[in-house]
Symmetry: D2
Subunit: 162 residues, 4 copies
């Protein structure tokens, strides 16, 4: 079983730009994280964009959907900014792809050391192996179906809508 | 759904003793790890011992089994040193407790920063929510049934026996 | 001998704001850094502002100067953003205060873990104990007199002007 | 001005051995630490041994002394385990080499992330540039002459003898 990881950016992969003193995207940290976690799964990584999820457009979401569809793998993780993760989940969910697709991300950049990203990656990689076809959000150690999840921005957590 | 976490020690919880320049057990890091991972699951933690798994006795394993049996929770994670994790899994597996029990641990102490512990904890907490009753080892992003797992000590990884 | 540390902000003390996904100032990390470094010097810390050095005004610099003058201590460290550190050094230097004053800072926020801040703090606290009266910049393990230092912004380093 | 750094081991350079679950010496971390600290000094590093300072013999100390003598550099830092740092300082001090020699080390291995090593390295590199000929211990942000320093082992700190 091969798992595809699609990289789209988000807090997960933010780095610190010393010259401008701001956060920016350089490369994905996913390979280093898989190595630190000593992951032994058969994983294929593909970076399809590097954007803040607040700046993600409908075209971006269509591109993510197309990548999910055309991937030969049946099990897919999408790393994604948390602010609009639920919206992208809805686009993927309504498309009814016959695959198991999990969106995950982080509240703190991995480069900050104290990231929740490593925890979430371990969680998403585990859920994706055992859940039935469908689109889910994996955050906070929990898994949410795409049509029953929202982020509470002020608290930085995800919860069920109903 | 409440998840019980039973702490038994292992590399997971090793700390650095400055006075003697050696590794030792102080307290479990599990609460800090759950906080870093922003875990929002209903989790109950119980420390039942703090030992190196190479020094774990049959009495210790019986104590872990008794704790699994008497816990009101149906879903249980046991943090454990990796060297004899497969042996403890066998003791628990042969006892046929009607619960979902996952053993997990770390190759590097959490206190070292670069630990695989955070990744494994995210993984174990996810598997334990969805797997059927049985005893499993969750390491390297993978899950192994208790009767088909061994550690390759020189490589520091787990694999199927057959 | 008591050493005064005046906090003015800069990269040194930037934190990550999870709600807005940006860098901001919360509190100074200086106490935690002194504790990590196991510093046993008699140190008094005073936060006088929390600003990006690019946004520092002449009034801000006058305030720093007044704080250097009125401090009962003869040895003073000023933590400062690196972008205009040399300019503030000039203001303090031209004022000819009969004290030993060192400016230091960091290229990477302490909160990022891989900061140069801890190294620079150890350096500044050492230089300040032994240098004669004057105003200096302590960065890159080196010490520069206030009238012979500039930052090469694209490289993120300090060097002598002549 | 070139500064020689002589590596002798100690907590500074302890690593975690995953196979045996113990601390051991692999390579020195000094190059990575100089890079993190963005040190721009002209530094030459030489590893002469990798030992626990509790296991350091008189021959080892003679070897350190010979290396101090034969080094072309006039300014030397010796990284050293803290437990017998004061003893080695005495051997070097009584030899009356006409150089500035500083011993420094760490209470926590650099590999643990929360090390005092980075702070101490910044401190030692600064003191060594400005102090007169003599042998000193640089720990806790302070500098001690070789004939007036001892470690209080239970507290993990250094203090003057009189």
């Amino acid at each position: 079983m091969t798992i595809k990881i699609l990289i789209t950016g988000g807090t997960f992969d933010k780095d610190y730009d010393e010259v401008h003193g701001a956060l920016f995207f350089k490369d994905t940290h996913i390979h280093e994280m898989l190595r630190l976690g000593r992951c032994r799964l058969d994983v294929k990584v593909r970076s399809i964009m590097m954007v803040d999820s607040l700046e993600m457009t409908e075209e971006d979401r269509e591109l993510i959907l197309r990548n999910c569809r055309k991937a030969p793998e049946e099990r897919i993780i999408v790393t994604h900014g948390t602010d609009t993760m639920a919206e992208t989940a809805r686009v993927l969910g309504e498309a009814e792809v016959a695959k198991t697709i999990l969106l995950t991300g982080a509240m703190i950049p991995y480069a900050f050391g104290s990231s929740d990203g490593l925890f979430n990656l371990g969680s998403a990689l585990s859920f994706v192996q055992v859940l039935h076809h469908g689109v889910y959000v994996a955050m906070n150690g929990m898994v949410f179906p795409w049509d029953n999840v929202r982020k509470i921005r002020q608290l930085g957590i995800f919860e069920k809508v109903r």
